[in-house]
Amino acid sequence: MMTVQDLGRVGLSRFGVSGAGPMDPPSLRMANRLVGNAESDAGLEFAQVGGTFVVDAPVRFAVTGASVGMTIDGKPVHAWESHHLLPGQTLRIGAVVNAVWGYLAISGGIDTPPVLGARTTHLRTGLGGFDGRRLAAGDGLPLGASGHAPLLALRQPLARPRGPFRIVPGPQADHFDASAWKIFLEEPFRIATHRDRMAQMLDGPAISAFAGHDIISDGTVAGSIQVPSSGRPIVLMAERQTTGGYPKIATVASVDLPRMAQAMTGSFVHFRVITRDEAEDLLLDQSRVLASALSGLEEKDKTTETAETETTSGRSNT
């Protein structure tokens, strides 16, 4: 499952157009910066397994997000730093291991035609990206022009929040009584197998809305936690519908949404209430930390290249 993604199709929710964009935006932004692209350039988002890639002109590329094994012509290379890929070489990106979504950025960016101002793929409506669909073996993707730029590496891993997922109650918090809230905040929920770019289902005890599970449809945001009549919460993700008719008990704090997207299927999550002020503070703090990480990428020099080779050969000896 691989799609073309940029940072999303913004400003058209009132016309029913989902923002889409990456499930883990900081990882795509980082991948772009590593190869010298604008953060808003389009890259590739993949789940399960990366794939095999060849180019017809020299490029820089970087892989971020989930951990994956990858090789150039059989030689292992690291994620979270950029590498050259030359015509005639083969890049193989293996299976995702500790998370869900990986990102591949290529210098120049994926240059598919923008649709409604963005290259992000919205699979449900077949909008944008590469003919509005997931990529298949044999697809050839156009790349934008790119000048010379150094190879870069992220030396400090991107800080990810830990602990319970922070939520801000509402907008329909008052459709749920004290016992429903107690279950929601005290019981663990499991990341269900039923998940895609649009929504994440959660398994666990049913949550009942005393005011009913149908509301007059209103607007949704990424992170809205809907509770339909099954009582099983649904967290709306990047490719969400713009409106929905289920009560929304709470909204996942923006800083914790990429972590929800990357949580392994079957893992457990807890929720913790914070105020809107706290959620905004967390988001502003994270923006500063990410901006600092993005601007603080180090140039890979001969020393680190050598170190990488030694590490690689050391692994092959064990």
Binding site: V10, G11, L12, S13, R14, F15, G16, V17, V115, L116, R124, T125, L127, V168, P169, G170, P171, Q172, A173, D174, F176, D177, A178, W181, K182, L185, I216, S217, D218, G219, T220, V221, G223, S224, Q241, T242, T243, K248, T251, V252, A253, S254, V273, R276, D277, A279, E280, L282, L283, L284, S287
Partner: protein, 247 residues
Amino acid sequence: MAVMTNAPAHFPRIAACGDSALAVEFSDRIDEATSARVVAMAGRLAAAEVAGITEVVPTYRSLLVHYDPALVRGRDLTVQLMDMLECQADTESTARHIIVPVLYGGETGADLDALAALKEMTRNDLIAMHASARYRVYMIGFAPGFAYLGGLPERLHTPRLAVPRQRIEAGAIGIGGQQASINSVPGPSGWRFIARTPLKLFDPSRKEPFLLRAGDRVRFRAIEEAEAAHLDAAVARGEPVEEWATT
């Protein structure tokens, strides 16, 4: 937990939707007066250019306001919006009126005869009732350009199908409960469909990709096969065929 209140809600009210959006709720009903207030507020916010607001989404009874917390904090925006709600009248700016040509029945409108039978009406009476009503776009949502309409005559209110159909074409004219729709993209639906329009509510290649917006007034005009074919061809050539009226 202090979030639980069983007291009836007082409107208008403003509810947090996380850290980057809030909902201005005007009532808990679907009616024209509420929709008018939602649309008016959306217009006022667009005109006022309130710092930090990135996008507004009008829906049946509420307005979703997206903001950038780096530019305005939710608590401050809430105060500003409450002030605007108190100080200003809820008058809509001049609405747009569109006449939508529709071909009743046929493959896309395959539920027409069954619905007429269910309502114990003739096919022509049902068409006349549907085509003579005045509709209002309450919301664009669900899919790009998909129009939810209010104003469906009560006799035509019909529950959704128990089993949704897998594919309904773009341009299908639907009935779901008390609502009417003009579908904008092909897809599954449990609504009942009685007609189709050659107009495209959504065309990403068009200069104005979206035909309708919340607050627009809609009337249907029954057309015959020949006119539908003519309009289909014109739309395919990219010619504008919309009929806008001023009143």
